[in-house]
């Protein structure tokens, strides 16, 4: 790992002042679980690290109005164990507890979880791919078992976050601080970018910006939610596919629904067709299966990831049935 400079900013404003205009030169470190791995593998070599975990506005969970404000540097374990999260946005707690292993959740933060870089092994093994400024996606013709079946191309990475699908399903927004005290609020469904929009990045954060907090509206009254994650193994892995599902039933019929999938597309993928298929229906084996089929409509598997299509279908079905 190359050396770098490190100084602790006193305030958020000091932190943004350290960032500069060039991606990769300065990196923000909170838990560091993803960033340090990247630096050790020489995927990232920032000249400066800006620690943010101590910054007051980036820490902890607060209830504000009809929603939650979660500091981006809040450790995942605190999100999982937070009573307000469990009551007001249980879907988020269910997703956060699926991240990594317990020690990783003690260290990793929610902001880091949604901003983590892809797990594609060509990217991680430092192939000169799009993500590294190159001009190819090596997975397209290579070992693409774990790559995108939806929204892929020109890069076929998948978004690895567990909390991102839940946050998108909950309609959360990101509060982003820029230099000079400038701020903007970006709804999470506009926070993530596809490779067609920006092949090198996975979100809209500019080099001089910091994700400060997540603003999470309370889950609709009477709604039920679940987060189902399918992995190669039982734990620790990133999702082959995951489904964050939230439904509201009125007289046994789905009146409102959100279905957002992880691990299948370069962004958390909102399965609008699946939502349409199940809205107005009772949750039965048949309707859930139909929603599962709709969820993968338009899927274009690569040579080796075809399995993800039926797996995603089954996972959507199961997630919905578990809410019946």
């Amino acid at each position: 790992m190359e050396n770098f400079s490190y100084s602790r900013p006193a305030t958020l404003r000091d932190a943004t002042a350290q960032l500069g205009k060039e991606h990769g030169r300065v990196a923000i470190i909170a838990g560091g679980t993803d960033l340090l791995g990247e630096m050790k593998d020489e995927l990232a070599a920032p000249a400066r690290l800006v620690p943010v975990r101590h910054l007051r506005e980036m820490q902890g969970v607060r209830t504000v109005g009809a929603g939650l404000r979660i500091g981006a540097a809040t450790p995942l374990v605190d999100v999982v164990e937070n009573r307000a999260v469990q009551e007001q946005a249980p879907l988020l707690a269910m997703a956060a507890v699926k991240v990594g292993t317990p020690a990783i959740r003690n260290m990793g933060t929610i902001g880091g979880n949604i901003c983590q870089r892809p797990r594609c092994w060509y990217y991680r093994n430092n192939y000169p791919c799009f993500k590294h400024g190159g001009s190819a996606c090596f997975s397209a013709l290579g070992e693409n078992d774990f790559h995108a079946i939806l929204e892929g191309g020109p890069s076929f990475i998948v978004h690895p976050s567990d909390t991102a699908p839940a946050l998108v399903a909950l309609g959360a927004s990101a509060r982003i601080a820029g230099p000079g005290g400038r701020e903007r609020i970006v709804p999470l469904d506009a926070f993530f970018v596809t490779p067609r929009q920006d092949v090198r990045r996975e979100n809209v954060l500019q080099p001089d910006e910091i994700l400060v907090e997540l603003q999470v509206p309370n889950a609709p009254a009477g709604s039920r939610a679940t987060y189902v994650k399918e992995m190669v193994r039982e734990t620790w892995n990133f999702a082959l596919c995951s489904v964050a599902a939230m439904v509201t039933l009125s007289n046994g019929v789905v009146s409102d629904v959100r279905i957002v999938m992880g691990g299948v597309a370069p962004v958390p993928y909102r399965a609008l067709k699946a939502e349409a298929a199940i809205r107005g229906q009772r949750l039965t084996e048949t309707t859930a299966a139909a929603a599962g089929a709709a969820a993968v409509e338009g899927a274009r598997p690569l040579a080796k990831n075809g399995y993800k299509v039926p797996l995603t279908q089954a996972t959507v079905k199961r997630a919905l049935l578990s809410l019946a």
């Binding site: 060509y122 193994r233 039982e234 620790w236 075809g306 039926p310 996972t315």
Partner: protein
């Protein structure tokens, strides 16, 4: 008696307190830290390596290039696993001339800190001519494939066979021929501590601390490669071995030693995880074509097996996976006619090394899969087919057609017990019920397999396939132990074999306690392996499932010898007849007179006047154990029959699985083992060996493994990508011991170190295939990842579309 009890572990207290001493814990004055530049290419010619820029960086004290490796050292001699080579090929510690796999060591840097050494690696300039790489057996075997060793021409580096009995005759008599194609994938036991070396060189002595399982390999490598006469090898605590730390580690020991010679300073080199994954050694991919000639009732009349091994990018372990199949060539079966053909194919992948049972899991997989296939094709019960072919209790001691002598066993009893323990009938009932229900709930499957676990290596085994070899690789085995009764009455000992976690100290302690009559709390290992004080042996090695045979024999022999000496001295001092002297818990007595070991010690080392006439002072004994029943067939006969190993544990495994029909995920619901490891010295230690080896075999069957791209790049560089199992994938494993003592070993003991890794992949395969019976599919390939299982259920076409 302490033998047979789970004596409190001698090793555990230091490890639970963080007081274990591993190589990386060692710090020497002025020690440098080394780092290795490795090949980024799977196949390339090295046109030039420029180290000057790196050498000029701050803190850098030495750069070792391929040219210097060639100038300063001699190549390794071909070992017994390369003696089938058509032409001799020199192999140096670092890459010289060419790189043949990603991660092959090319150059080394030493600096005053590890970080500076890492920084300097990037400044070494290597000029490569990239060559086409072959990453599969098929690609490497193409006539147009680039030669990985030009000296050999073809990448098919070795072909040979062994044949016993009248195979053609058996096939003529057969009612039917059952054919199968099977594969085993690349995996590793991934010891948690990667390779590590510290070398300190003075004009008088080169000392190396190295976490090798085989200090004799390190000793020979350094003395031969560097031409240094005085070499001391010290093996401190070792963080897991499993066979990984026998072969390739010598390359790094020599490179580190060269760096210490070059810089004149102590040098530490610690491998990192990704280096270990790409270049630390893998078990080999094996492809089998099997044909069994069977009678109508399931009797196997004869069997033909073609075994193609992908041995990676080195000739040094060319036939290691083939010759290890001689160890369990007939498994538990009395089949008399067998032909095994082997091909070793070089590829641009990591070289292959021993790996918890090496070759034997493949051989067991062949037998147990073909037994299931025979049952299916003849519509017989799979357990009945096995029973039809088992060696019977009355057959022991039993000589297999290739010369292995099985001392004892009761294979039917193992099956009886495992069926009972797993509630076989109940599982079948639940399975039938769930199948009747149709498409709801998981698919239930059960697999029952049986296997032998060979132990105690005969070094002459490999000669069975290299009759033309001029170089005798050794024969049989020798291992030493030394025991000393200290002046204060405590007892210390040394062993020829380093421990990698198999509780050598605890086990040896129990034997010494019983034989010598000392209290186990006053017995301790004097030091971990140190060639300056530990005895050597032909197999001074933690490998080959050797400990139970050679080290136990050596410890027992040394303790017996020391006891005799104690009795002679005690009889003299107590004025009693030798036969009247008793020893218990460190006290010698005859009638109502007694003395403590401490009193004896004081006299033995300090009071010549009180010693009997002609008594050699001191109370120390060394014993080198060789298997007293190593013959017949220690050397191969004209028919190629040889004792591959000397003891044969056995076990029946039953796996119950549930397969998710929508996701293909396999969950192991129960895993039951009934195991015959002969006389148990410490049952909890043996349990630990069985649990660990079973868990590894199950993990191998269900997902762990290496993935290479077509370009020869390893994709699975981390334990996560590799798929190592955690507590959540590893099932609870149930063990019943059913020991049948071996008639030929010191205490009736048999091996336990590799055991459950041998049949477990077959047990999982059998259970998953059974669960998938409604789909009529056959399990031929591992690992059984959810995806593969899903594809088997649904056919591959649908998802490929």
């Amino acid at each position: 008696m302490h033998i047979g009890r789970s004596l409190r572990s001698k090793e555990a207290p230091r490890h639970v307190s963080g007081r274990g001493r591993f190589v990386d814990d060692l710090v020497l004055p002025r020690m440098l830290h080394a780092c290795i530049l490795r090949s980024p290419y799977a196949h390339a010619r090295i046109l030039g390596v420029q180290g000057q820029a790196a050498a000029a960086l701050p803190g850098v004290k030495g750069v070792l290039t391929p040219d210097e490796v060639r100038e300063l050292s001699k190549p390794f001699k071909p070992g017994r696993y390369a003696s089938g080579l058509r032409v001799p090929i020199p192999e140096y510690s670092g890459a010289v001339g060419k790189v043949r796999y990603v991660g092959e060591p090319v150059a080394m840097v030493a600096a005053d800190t590890r970080a500076r050494a890492e920084d300097a690696i990037g400044a070494i300039d290597v000029d490569y001519e990239v060559l086409p790489a072959s990453s599969t057996i098929a690609a490497a075997s193409e006539p147009t494939a680039a030669s990985i060793y030009e000296e050999l021409g073809s990448n098919v580096a070795w072909e040979g066979h062994v044949s016993y009995g009248d195979v053609d005759g058996a096939f003529k008599r057969a009612h039917s021929i059952v054919r199968e194609r099977l594969t085993i994938h690349r995996y590793s036991s991934t010891p948690l501590e990667p390779f590590a070396c510290v070398v300190h060189r003075t004009p008088e002595l080169l000392t190396i601390w190295c976490n090798s399982q085989s200090p004799d390999v390190i000793y020979e490598a350094i003395t031969e490669a560097l031409g240094i006469d005085a070499v001391r090898v010290i093996v401190p605590d070792v963080g897991g071995g499993f066979g990984q730390k026998i072969h390739l580690i010598r390359k790094y020991a020599v490179m580190t030693a060269l760096m210490a010679v070059k810089t004149g300073r102590p040098v530490k080199w610690i491998e990192d995880r990704s280096e270990h994954m790409m270049a630390g050694g893998h078990s080999c991919e094996q492809e089998f074509n099997v044909e069994a000639a069977v009678a109508r009732d399931g009797e196997v009349l004869g069997i033909k097996i073609q075994d193609t091994d992908d041995v990676g990018g080195s000739i040094s372990t060319l036939t290691i996976h083939f010759t290890n199949k001689l160890n369990n060539l007939f498994n538990t079966y009395k089949v008399q006619h067998l032909r095994l053909e082997g091909r070793s194919v070089l590829t641009n992948k990591c070289p292959v090394v021993p790996n918890r049972g090496i070759g034997k899991p493949g051989m067991c997989f062949v037998w147990e899969r073909i037994m299931d296939r025979i049952a299916q094709e003849l519509s017989l019960d799979p357990i009945a087919v096995r029973r039809r072919n088992l060696i019977e209790v009355s057959d022991f001691p039993y000589t297999t057609p290739n010369g292995n002598i099985y001392g004892s066993g009761d294979y039917h009893a193992l099956l009886d017990k495992v069926l009972k323990n797993v509630d076989y009938g109940d599982v079948r009932r639940r399975q039938a019920e769930s199948r009747q229900k149709g498409v709801v709930g998981p698919l239930i499957g059960i697999g029952v397999v049986i296997g032998v676990e060979p132990g105690g290596r005969n070094a002459a085994r490999d000669m069975a396939i290299f009759p033309q070899s001029k170089q005798m690789p050794g024969a049989g085995g020798v291992e030493g132990a030394t025991i000393k009764l200290e002046k204060n009455g405590s007892v210390v000992f040394t062993l020829g074999s380093p421990s990698c976690g198999q509780s050598h100290e605890t086990t040896a302690c129990q034997i010494i306690a019983d034989v010598l009559g000392a209290g186990p709390e006053r017995i301790a290992l004097a030091s971990t392996f140190d060639s300056a004080r530990s005895p050597w042996g032909v197999s001074a090695s933690n490998s080959g499932n050797n400990f139970h045979l050679y080290d136990v024999g050596a410890v027992h022999g040394a303790a017996t010898r020391l006891r005799e000496k104690v009795i002679v001295l005690a009889a003299h001092l107590l004025q009693a007849d030798k036969s009247a002297v008793q020893i218990e818990n460190g006290v010698v007595s005859a009638g109502d007179r007694s003395m403590s070991f401490a009193e004896l010690g004081k006299i033995a080392y300090g009071n010549q006047a009180m010693l009997p006439k002609g008594f050699e002072g001191g109370l120390e004994a060394t014993y080198y154990h060789s298997h007293p029943h190593a013959d017949p067939l220690m050397l191969p006969d004209m028919q190629g029959r040889v004792r591959a190993q000397y003891t044969f544990s056995s076990a029946a495994h039953a796996a119950v699985v549930e397969v998710d029909r929508e996701t293909g995920r396999v969950r192991v619901v129960r895993y039951v083992i009934v195991s015959d490891n002969g006389t148990l010295i410490n049952p909890s230690v043996v349990d630990g060996q069985i649990y660990g080896s079973a868990a590894h075999g199950i993990s191998v069957a269900l997902g762990e493994g290496f993935v290479y791209g077509q370009d020869g790049q390893l994709q699975t560089l981390t334990l996560l990508d590799y798929g190592k199992s955690t507590t959540l994938e590893t099932p609870h494993i149930e063990i019943e011991h059913f020991p049948v003592p071996d008639p030929f070993t010191t205490l009736g003991q048999k091996a336990a170190g590799e055991g459950a890794a041998i049949p477990s992949p077959a047990a999982i395969a059998s259970a998953v295939e059974d669960a998938l019976r409604p789909f009529g599919v056959t399990v031929r390939d591992l690992p059984l990842t959810p995806e593969r299982v899903w594809r088997m259920m649904h056919g591959s076409e649908r998802v490929r579309a």
